[in-house]
């Protein structure tokens, strides 16, 4: 760190280099160039000239804008210099003070912090949309928003949250912690790692730009053929989601490659932290599922721009093709949003119970099992869509089978709690809330998986309550638990515990008050994504909206806590404030640039709490020392 400050160049030199500001300038320039090309091309296409809406120009603008943004950040420098004969290197801008955070940086810890700030920023925008949606639903008829603005809010909320929660754990915590946990000094592909982050703000901004293009009416699922007929804002959704698909593929690839190839000596598969197992199970899903999303979005873009008809039944296409492609991605996606949570809570439970993870192999089997089965369940989203009726029992079975490996995670939690010495810290509270929320989410999922029951619940608020219980009650609670737990390691400062507890209780109570009544609203016939509903349901909706505002307030408490603790109070974190065993807690807080001076030797499992004479997980100063002991 000190070396970086000494070598820091003058401030003006940092501003004119390849960085965020240059990226924005070149991004805007790229947008206008792409737009101009598109206008020229589209001038001869009837569908463009007859509707006054040139989708080719918009899409090319977005694509060249993103290319310009990435070029401005410096992503082309290395490939070009290699073409010109420069020697290979794996490091860029790893030392350079605060400027590192605004450019391509190959230090995985910088990327982790970039992700944390970026994801939380867009997460709060998505949350704000939810507040606007709930405000409209205070009344059974339109009051605050036109129907098209309302639907745009619904789509922005859903898509933004899907994009950000996909990155929420693997981005900040995965990038920061995985290399440290396995005893490595970096990720396998450090530039791709940085690229995967910088695609997130690009996608976020592209998605938000839909507001200026008349919005999009399709929700986060973007069903064709509605998406093909929609106005220009749809292009923003398609490009943004495709960009996130690229980022997710890169993250998955990077996490898998890093874990498979860069584990320190002694870091056997049975010593790998549960969190790392969760990261690679998720990485596998991302690597295999996200490319399907990219292709699907590209096909819709082709329908909208160059007049193909993949999804237009009037011209030989099929809506079912879209539905199947989308959910082939979409169902693994919801486990991309569940598995990291499993990893975090099992990790936290061991630390704050002061006990080993009860069934290590069982947890791993559970997470890998969920990952594999999740590729065989997607048609349960299509039970009433008119798919071949013979398929329904099969997808009902596979969907319900997923609860068996999920049950492993619960059994582990229960075993770890037994005869534990429980410490009720803020991270532990979030981990325990995960189990409560996910239990409700899982049990309500059975209703959706059962065909006769799904006929009444499909497409209703019941489904919406179900997946908020799993994603928000599950993943978001686990993420906050992990964040409170690892924040001292990542930033070197401690989050305020009292504010943390206020955040937790406010969030936990208002979350359940918000989403539990929505099961009833759905059962009683309120479809999703409507701005008008039966007036008999106004009582439930008002209760839900007011509870939702309290979720908003709890997030404000969290934001205050982060700003106060990180910027104002800056209470120094100890090296190991939780007395945890993981390798990351053997390092200083925050972790120095290359993590370890030399690759450590791993000699024990991170979970040997209560084991007499258990050695520390890693011997930090070179393999020679440990060799004598073993």
């Amino acid at each position: 760190m000190s070396i970086g400050v000494l070598n820091a160049r003058p401030a003006w030199r940092e501003v004119v280099g390849f960085n965020f500001a240059t990226g924005i300038v070149l991004g805007v320039a790229g947008y206008f160039i792409g737009n101009a090309i598109g206008q020229a091309v589209g001038a001869n296409i009837h569908a463009m000239t007859s509707t006054d809406q040139n989708d080719i120009a918009i899409v090319l603008g977005y694509l060249l804008g993103v290319v310009g943004f990435l070029a401005g950040l410096g992503f082309l420098n290395y490939p070009i210099s290699r073409l010109l004969g420069a020697p290979p290197s794996l490091q860029e801008h790893e030392e350079g003070g605060a400027w590192r955070y605004f450019r391509l940086c190959t230090d995985h810890k910088v990327v982790g912090i970039q992700y944390l700030v970026g994801v939380l920023f867009f997460f709060f925008i998505g949350g704000l949309n939810a507040m606007f949606i709930r405000t409209e639903l205070l009344f059974p008829t339109e009051h605050f928003w036109d129907p098209d603005h309302y639907l745009t809010l619904v789509g922005l909320h859903g898509t933004m949250m899907m994009m950000m929660t996909s990155a929420m754990v693997l981005g900040p915590l995965g990038n920061y912690l995985l290399p440290i946990m396995i005893g490595a000094q970096r990720m396998a592909f450090p530039r791709l790692e940085s690229l995967s982050f910088w695609l997130v703000p690009a996608a976020g901004v592209v998605l938000l730009s839909a507001i200026g293009l008349d919005g999009f009416p399709s929700g986060w699922t973007g069903y064709a053929s509605l998406s093909v007929q929609a106005k220009a804002g749809m292009d923003a959704y398609l490009v943004a989601f495709a960009l996130i698909g690229v980022a997710m593929t890169l993250v998955g690839l990077n996490m898998l490659a890093t874990t498979f190839t860069m584990r320190a000596p002694g870091m056997t598969w049975t010593r790998l932290p549960i969190f790392a197992w969760a990261v690679i199970s998720t990485g596998l899903l991302m690597l295999l599922a996200a490319p399907v999303l990219v292709v699907t979005m590209a096909l819709v873009l082709m329908d909208r721009t160059v007049q193909t008809s993949f999804f237009l039944s009037s011209a030989g296409g099929s809506v079912y093709l879209y539905e199947n492609l989308f959910w082939f991605f979409g169902h693994p996606e919801v486990y991309i949003l569940a598995l990291p949570g499993f990893g975090i809570v099992l990790e936290l439970l061991a630390v704050f119970c002061r006990k080993p993870v009860w069934g290590y192999r069982l947890s791993v089997a559970g997470m890998v099992g969920v990952a594999l089965v999740s590729f065989f369940v997607w048609q349960h989203h299509l039970f009433v869509s008119g798919i071949d009726a013979h398929l329904r029992p099969f997808y009902m079975l596979t969907t319900e089978l997923i609860s068996i490996p999920t049950g492993f995670v619960f059994l582990n939690g229960m075993g770890t709690l037994w005869r534990a010495k429980i410490r009720y810290t803020v991270p532990m509270l979030f981990a325990l809330a995960f189990f409560f929320n996910f239990l409700i989410g899982g049990l309500s999922g059975i209703f959706n998986s059962d065909v006769p029951s799904d006929v009444s619940t499909h497409g209703s608020f019941f489904v919406m309550a179900h997946f908020h219980y799993t994603i928000m009650g599950g993943l978001v609670f686990a993420f906050f638990g992990g964040l409170y737990y690892w924040f001292p390691k990542m930033t070197g400062v401690v989050l305020n515990e009292r504010l943390g507890k206020i955040h937790f209780w406010l969030f936990f109570i208002s979350f359940n008050f918000t989403f539990f009544p929505l099961f009833a609203a759905g059962f009683l016939g309120q479809p999703r994504r409507v701005s008008t509903y039966a007036s008999a349901l106004q009582g439930i909706n008002d209760f839900v909206s007011i509870s939702a505002y309290f979720i908003g307030i709890s997030m404000v408490v969290f934001a205050i806590n982060v700003v106060y603790s990180w910027v104002v109070a800056r209470q120094r974190a100890a090296e190991n404030p939780w007395q945890a065993r993981g390798i990351e807690w053997q390092l200083p807080s925050p972790v120095p640039v290359r993590n370890f001076e030399r690759i450590p030797e791993v000699v024990a499992s991170p979970y040997e709490y209560g084991v007499p004479d258990a050695p520390p997980v890693a011997v930090l100063h070179g393999p020679a020392v440990a060799a004598a002991g073993e």
Partner: protein, 286 residues
């Protein structure tokens, strides 16, 4: 190694099991007899009654699972709370094979029962549970009286429903059904995906352009029911609702004749309606 089912610590687990048994024994009859008959979607039609029964069974299955976990967690969180400021490790218990086998056996039994029973619910006499079955409904699940069913084409478009009665030769914006008669819905769309949801009838079938989605139900009681669109279809999606009616057989016949006469000037110039909107429907939905 201390094991959970070892002889040294049986008392605590027995307490949990007894509390669980008591809670379940009280809650299950309460749900079955008191909550069950009031669960949506009610008993207005055969398929609605099937779904209500299904929902009741699922709640009854969920209760012991939820009760066990909540009681177990609550017990642990209270009993094993660490007091004092000194850091103390718990016993290093590791997974007990018998517990794991018992757990897997129990969860598998529940899951396989639910999947098997849910599949059975789609078979004979259940009318396919009121869900859209695509153009080619399961033959084995076909109701016995399907040949004499009243055919109703449901045509979704942005943003309204139109109902065609091909056996009577007219179309209407009203959905009126006779009591006690099997109804065969043929659901389709003219533009984007909609979903025909007759809430109290327990019928839901996506309206997909170019496809014929068949769903069965048999209304049992006279009364009105809500029809809503359950798939996002554009800006007026939330406004795409109507009210349908179930009337007696004779009322239905008089309504149908009245509609037919009123619409005769238009209908007479058209060719007769086919049984489904697309005369040659796809044999497979997708």
């Amino acid at each position: 190694m201390i094991s959970i089912f070892g002889r040294r610590v049986p008392g605590e687990l027995f307490k949990i099991f007894i509390a669980w048994a008591v809670v379940s024994a009280i809650a299950i009859p309460v749900v079955w007899f008191l909550l069950g008959p009031h669960l949506p979607p009610g008993t207005m039609s055969s398929s609605a009654a099937d779904q209500q029964f299904d929902n009741t069974v699922l709640v009854v299955c969920a209760i012991p699972v939820a009760a066990f976990l909540v009681i177990y967690f609550t017990y642990c969180l209270v009993r094993f709370r660490h007091r004092g400021s000194t850091l103390e490790d718990g016993p290093p218990l590791k997974g007990d094979g018998r517990v794991i086998v018992a757990w897997i056996a129990a969860t598998s039994a529940i899951v396989l029962f639910l999947a098997g029973w849910g599949s059975w619910e789609l078979f004979p006499g259940e009318h396919g549970a009121g869900g859209g079955q695509g153009p080619d409904p399961l033959q084995i699940a076909m109701p016995a009286n399907a040949a004499s069913a009243l055919q109703v084409q449901v045509i979704g478009q942005q943003w309204q429903w139109t109902y065609r009665y091909p056996q009577y030769g007219f179309e209407s914006d009203q959905l009126v059904l006779p009591q006690g008669q099997l109804v065969e819905f043929h659901v389709t769309s003219l533009d984007v995906v909609h979903s025909f949801w007759a809430i109290q009838l327990g019928v839901k079938a996506d309206a997909v352009p170019g496809s014929d989605n068949v769903a069965f139900t048999q209304p049992n009681r006279v009364g009105s029911f809500q029809v809503r669109c359950a798939e996002l279809c554009g800006i007026w999606h939330g406004h795409m609702f109507t009210e349908g009616r179930v009337v007696t057989e004779s009322d239905f016949q008089s309504w149908a004749q009245q509609q037919k006469q009123r619409l005769a000037p238009a209908s007479s110039s058209l060719p007769p309606y086919a049984p489904s909107y697309y005369p040659e429907p796809l044999t497979r939905g997708g």
